[in-house]
């Protein structure tokens, strides 16, 4: 693979990760958002795959396949089940409207670029130049958690946050040992399970997972 092709593919994949996170803020149907998250997982796997292929590291390619299965299929599948199980409205309910959310996400992307300037200046490899994208996805994931009402969207936000972290990891360190990635993946899986169980329990107990209504539970 030539270097030009590598840079193009890497930028495409990493850009796709960012674009999907914007799309997750923009779209209104819960099921579609889940598909977008799955697409983001695949894009993340593609980033790892491209880096692995370019540097001829079979271990990274292996990790990329695993990430693709886990973040592109298994975790979105779990979320989809949660979405389908809920007989509540399948619409996204947000504290701020879509244009505001997109504007905030753009702001966060700028913050990510501004704060990582020094890191990017350290090295001129294409991976490091794409590093701010990872930070931006992390921040947008947190924005999703903060602004959405349904608990299932909080789960998606956590997943997006973790995708951002993984992206930074791939881009910044050009591959971590398999054991570390395995550990992180199983952690996320576990967190997903716990969150899903919790959501189901909240729903059966209080009849809905609107976080603003859970406010009554304090004191």
């Amino acid at each position: 693979m030539s270097t030009t092709r590598f840079v193009q593919l890497l930028d495409l994949a990493a850009g796709l990760v960012l674009v999907t996170s914007f799309a997750a803020l923009w779209l209104r149907r819960l099921v579609t958002v889940t598909w977008v998250i799955a697409l983001q997982g695949v894009a993340l796997a593609a980033v790892a795959l491209v880096i692995g292929a370019y540097e001829h590291e079979t271990e990274l390619v292996l990790i990329a396949l695993m990430v693709g299965v886990l973040r592109g299929v298994v975790l979105p599948g779990l979320i989809l089940r949660a979405v389908r199980a809920g007989d509540e409205h399948r619409e996204v309910e947000s504290l701020i409207n879509v244009p505001a959310a997109l504007l905030a996400a753009s702001g966060l992307t700028l913050v990510a670029y501004a704060t990582t300037r020094d890191v990017v200046a350290l090295s001129s490899t294409p991976q490091v130049r794409a590093l701010p994208l990872g930070i931006a996805v992390m921040l947008i994931g947190m924005l999703l958690i903060v602004t959405r009402r349904k608990a299932v969207l909080q789960i998606m936000g956590v997943l997006m946050l973790d995708n951002g972290i993984a992206l930074v990891m791939f881009l910044g360190t050009s591959g971590v040992p398999l054991a570390v990635e395995l550990g992180i993946a199983s952690d996320v899986l576990l967190a997903m399970f716990i969150l899903q169980v919790l959501t189901t329990r909240i729903r059966t107990k209080f009849g809905g997972t609107d976080l603003d209504q859970l406010r009554e539970l304090r004191d």
């Binding site: 913050v111 704060t115 930070i135």
Partner: protein
């Protein structure tokens, strides 16, 4: 010997706490009382040994706490305060057996009580910064638990405990700051190291340390304007605890001030003394005025504690003003007056609080306007309360007189002074002490008269019975101490000399010389013989009694009212009440106290010319509380409300906080 006694005290306190934890209610009270009394006796024995011998006691427990460990240094200054503690603690512990049997006998209270006694005893014995803070905090916490002892049926106790907890911990903060700065600058934790290193402190640092310790220890002593907790907390505690808190615990504020200001720091400029003196004058006046107008017996006693601590501060402040100008022997006399007052105050205030406890448990009320006529029903309480009242009013021949006389002598004889501030301050101080003495006499005439004389003003007062034997033992023992201190203060001359020697920055030499009967002050042409004075008074009294009796025997015509002018029956409603007794003096001080007075007049239904009932209510607000503390509290509350808006329970908001924090960290640490 001293070490052994202190060890016995510690073991006895531990035994008392274990007894309080494991024994069943009835025997618990007895064993806790006995072991606590033993603990206090052992502490008193250690103090006496140090005060009569010339040795001091030191011990090190390096592993008791991390870093510093605890060091015990028992010198004469420690001993005089531990002795004051023992004087009130032993009778109070015995009294507590009877008092707790029908009152606060819960496990918590019975564990906290010996802990309080022991920690009050050990605070002066601490010889390192860590040790002092540890015992101080132990004392603060155990007394806080005891203030809350009766919170079940007493709502007041809860707010009192809140005030007490807040004030005592703010004062601890000031003390810790002062001591930590001191230890850091001196490069050592033990008092010996601090004393050695304090000479290198810059005057500004030394003054900051002094002012911090003045705030911290002044709050514990309950002096103006840090007194607000005292008239709340002391009345709400069980009475033997009140006696302990008022008689011994507040005096440790004085101990701390003298220890840090004039022992560890080695004294300072004249204005240190002037500040202490000014606080003392304000406290004495403020305390006694509020005591005079209070109609709650225990509240009255608590305000009188503020007054007495004010007097002690006057003595310490005067000594602190004399010492820098070179008049060391006069400073010794002023310091001796303060220390004697601490001892005397422990005896008579302890006695009066125990007496108030007897009245409270016999009648169920502390309201002076509902008492009366108890002298016949509670003769022992009445007699001992009378002795305490005479002592606290500083009337000869009782013990309060000796210390107040010493204080006045030291103030008066400073007058041909070359320092302008001394020449201005001392006449004012003399005037305030004299006025305070007069008002104290009026206060305790009121307290004794309305409680014990005349007719009972309520059913409960009419059905009162004398308290149980153990409580009487406590009362009689403390009045015995008062009388002994009155007749033989000469016994304290050599202890007071040792205390003077221990406070290096303030005094030197013997403040008082004695030949067994006669007290002679050093550097002043003044002397007093309490024993001769008492004998003279006794002879005079017997003579007057004899003449009166003789006159009665020889009189054959008796006066009987002819028609009585309508006053054929005397009822309790015709008597002076506590409020009405103090009313003329309240008018005199109207401009200072600003009392709120309500008069409700109910008219007869059929004619407005006939009055059916008149109600008179007088309430005096604490000026400091009203002008200083409540605005501060209001500001704090506004801040608290603001904080509540941040913390409103919305999960989104909490999540947003973490997002904002993350972004801030990213931007700042870039």
């Amino acid at each position: 010997m001293v070490g052994a006694a202190l060890a016995v005290a510690a073991v006895a306190a531990a035994a008392a706490m274990i007894a309080g934890a494991v024994l069943p209610a009835r025997s618990r009270v007895v064993w806790v009382g006995v072991c606590t009394a033993l603990c206090a006796t052992a502490g008193g024995a250690a103090a006496t040994a140090v005060l009569t011998g010339s040795s001091t006691f030191q011990a090190n427990f390096p592993n008791l706490f991390p870093l510093g460990g605890v060091r015990i240094e028992f010198d004469a200054l420690s001993a005089i305060f531990s002795l004051a503690t023992a004087i009130v603690a032993v009778p109070a512990a015995i009294y507590g057996i009877g008092y707790s049997a029908h009152g606060p006998s819960s496990r918590t209270v019975q564990i906290a009580w010996p802990l309080l006694v022991w920690s009050v005893m050990m605070v002066p014995a601490a010889g390192s910064v860590t040790g002092l803070i540890a015992f101080w905090e132990l004392m603060a916490l155990s007394s806080l638990v005891l203030v809350l002892a009766e919170h079940h049926h007493n709502v007041e106790a809860r707010s009192a405990a809140q005030w007490y907890a807040a004030m005592t911990h703010l004062s601890l903060l000031a003390i810790v700051l002062a001591l930590v700065v001191l230890a850091h600058q001196a490069g050592g934790d033990s008092f010996t190291a601090v004393r050695a290193g304090a000479g290198d402190l810059s005057p500004a640092t030394a003054s900051v340390v002094f002012l911090l310790s003045l705030v911290g220890f002044g709050a514990k002593a309950g002096v103006v304007p840090l007194h607000v907790w005292l008239p709340r907390a002391h009345p709400e505690a069980p009475s033997h605890v009140s006696a302990m808190m008022s008689g011994a615990m507040v005096a440790l504020g004085v101990y701390g001030l003298v220890r840090v200001g004039w022992d560890l720091l080695g004294g300072g400029p004249t204005w240190w003394g002037a500040v202490v003196l000014a606080i003392g004058l304000a406290s004495a006046m403020f305390g006694i005025l509020h005591a005079l107008l209070s109609s709650d017996l225990k509240r009255l006693l608590a305000y009188s504690t503020t007054e007495n601590m004010g007097l002690v501060f006057i003595g310490v402040g005067a000594a602190g003003m004399f010492a820098p100008s070179g008049n060391r022997s006069l400073a010794s006399v002023a310091l001796a007056a303060s220390m004697l007052l601490v001892i005397n105050h422990a005896a008579f205030k302890g006695l009066l609080f125990l007496g108030a406890g007897s009245i409270l448990s016999a009648t169920g009320t502390r309201d002076l306007d509902r008492l009366g006529g108890l002298a016949r029903r509670m003769p022992v309480t009445a007699a001992t309360f009378a002795i305490g009242s005479l002592a606290i009013a500083a009337l000869p021949p009782l013990n309060g007189f000796v210390s107040e006389w010493l204080l006045l002598q030291s103030l008066v004889h400073s007058l041909p002074s070359n320092a302008a501030v001394v020449a201005v301050a001392m006449p004012v101080a003399v005037a305030v002490v004299a006025l305070t003495g007069g008002l104290a006499a009026a206060t305790f005439v009121k307290a004794f008269g309305t409680t014990f004389l005349a007719m009972p003003r309520s059913v409960e007062a009419g059905q009162a019975h004398e308290s149980p034997r153990t409580m009487q033992v406590g009362l009689v023992a403390l009045s015995g101490v008062c009388v002994a201190l009155a007749l033989a203060p000469t016994a304290l001359t050599s202890p007071l000399r040792r205390v003077s020697a221990a406070v290096g920055g303030l005094a030197d030499g013997a403040p008082i010389r004695t030949n067994g009967v006669y007290l002679q002050l050093s550097g002043i042409q003044a002397g007093l013989s309490p024993l001769l004075l008492a004998t003279g008074l006794a002879v005079l009294m017997i003579a007057v009694l004899a003449v009166v009796r003789r006159g009665r025997l020889h009189r054959t015509v008796r006066d009987i009212p002819a028609w009585g002018c309508g006053r054929t029956v005397q009822t309790a409603r015709m008597e002076y009440t506590a409020t009405s007794f103090a009313e003329p003096l309240q008018r005199v001080f109207d401009d200072v106290l600003h009392p709120e007075i309500d008069i409700d007049v109910d008219h007869h239904v059929e004619s407005r010319h006939y009055v059916q009932a008149i109600r008179y209510r007088m309430k005096i607000r604490d000026g400091f509380e009203h002008r200083l503390y409540l605005p501060l509290l209001a500001v704090a509350r506004r801040w608290g409300d603001g904080a509540r808006r941040i913390q409103n329970g919305s999960i989104h908001r909490y999540l947003a906080y973490s997002l904002i924090t993350l972004i801030t960290v990213l931007v700042v640490s870039r």
